[in-house]
Amino acid sequence: MARSISFSEAINEALTIAMAADENVILMGEDVVGGAQVDHLQDDEAWGGVLGVTKGLVQQFGRDRVLDTPISEAGYIGAAVGAAATGLRPVAELMFNDFIGSCLDQLMNQAAKLRYMFGGKAEVPLTIRTMHGAGFRAAAQHSQSLYALFTHIPGLKVVVPSTPADAKGLLLTSIADNDPVVFFEDKTLYNVKGEVPEGDYRIPLGKADIKRAGRDLTIVAIGKQVHTALAAADTLATQGIDVEVVDPRSLSPLDEDTILASVAKTNRLIVIDEATARCGVAADIAALVADKGFDSLDAPIKRITGPHTPVPFSPVLEDLYLPTPTKVIQTVAELLGDSSIAAAVS
């Protein structure tokens, strides 16, 4: 049965199910409980993560399985890698993906490569949960979307859900997966609600979801930008333009077939990604289609991304940083060579 719960509740639910099912699943991270060894603190008063996403897990699974860590990203993320290689199935939280600079080695050179370097004789069933995304007025060091860095690295899997239901199903799959998965959570989506099935269900990695079917143009959108695409599509529908919105959901593996099939049908592609453009995921998808989908293309491949700047603090600037439905509509108008569209909706 599906009920409407928030994105963060969906994640909490997935963690609860995974931990109940397999005692090798442990959680670790900074303040994933909070208040370690504070005498007077009741478990239900503990933070449960800096934004409360892991709240309540300690009551069910105890502090032996929900581990607060020191501020030592290399230390505890690397420990999660070592624990995964020796028999646990850790879910480690890197609070903000921006902190990857403190522990990239553990993921890039250890987790991602152990199996290959050891000739297939190691497994690293590790999930890294991490927050990304702009729009929280958190400035340059707490607002990036860095999944491109991980997608570039063979040996890692990369997941970016856009809805509560996807978040739950993909997180359960990620935890059960026997390879290292980096799971991105947009902090500005946490309070967004959606229908989410009860119980344990899995969404396979590498399977895109067509969030809206359409004939005239394909938009591939990453994470929260799926909603930007859908909003633009609704408006465009009033102009008789029928947009297909594809949500890859996992960036590595990437569901090339669904993307190519969509473009084969619509002959036009826009990719929306709030991350920066250079060597980004939007470029990656554009390059895929410029090769394997070239013959079906009737127009240039457009990308709507964050600009080549850090994320600014000031709300007025940050709002300009992010893609918007209006920008999407303008790009569609450009692509279809029909300026009346943009004019009509503005």
């Binding site: 370690a36 933070w47 501020i71 290399a74 707490h142």
Partner: protein
Amino acid sequence: MGMVQTAQPVLTHEKALWMYRKMVEIRRFEDAVHDLFAKGKLPGFVHLYAGEEAVAVGVCAHLSEADSITSTHRGHGHCIAKGCDLDGMMAEIYGKATGLCKGKGGSMHIADLTKGMLGANGIVGGGFPLACGAALTAKRKGTNQVAVCFFGDGANNQGTFHEGLNLAAIWKLPVIFVAENNGYAEATPFTYASSCRRIADRAAAYDIPGVVVDGKDVVAVYQAAEEAVRRARSGEGPTLIECITYRNYGHFEGDAQTYKAKEERKRHLEELDAIVRFRSYLLDGGLASGEDLSRLEEEARAAVEQAIQFAEESPFPSPTDLFDDVYVSY
């Protein structure tokens, strides 16, 4: 012990007044930011320094604008103690074009290099290497500038702590590492996350002096910093000073602080308050009159008021500012 010692003239009248003024300025500023945040006037993450004033002020009392400091996510106090303009600071926190960083940095990145303030930093532990770098510049250029690295008890478990202290030690860099041990990193107690009894104990691992002081006694901080700065300026290398302190507010605005014991909070906010204690010290020692201090308090209040007005009335950045200042040239 127990004997009356000839009172050392620790502070001059001017220095004492400057210190009191700065401490009060920080407190007023942070209390104001707290209120503004509660009213929904301020965007973003805000971490307040109230309660820890004695640390920034006791240390910065020895620095000139030519000296550098690196700061943390909890940076307002360091900025003020290092002489940053309140108007520019408040405007920055509002995200206004007149902010010290044109509104692009916000609370977590306020900086003013002309004052030797190398920036608040959103990365815990980010300041250790940067401070070493500033000190390397000073050493290489043969100035007698120093660099101060402020950091929290949580940051003391970052790898950069180890790498920074070792580098400073082997190169005898003029750095003062100032631990602000307020007992918590977010909701995690120092005693849980750190295997050392005292952060200062870790100095031995680098063969440098490690000192613990009551970080809510500004005179004690002042004295410890005096020796550390002297060492640094005279080429004797780094010092680690641990200041035991407390933050009056939560980790960030919005934190219910359930992890703090009630009595602990009460004791810190009432009995142990650094400003109250310094006030008595000044009055008791005849270093300042009640009128002096009231005047300073009033000045600080007015300055903060003025800063808020400045920030409120300032314009937001213009759209093209988004693209500027990424590179010097590209």
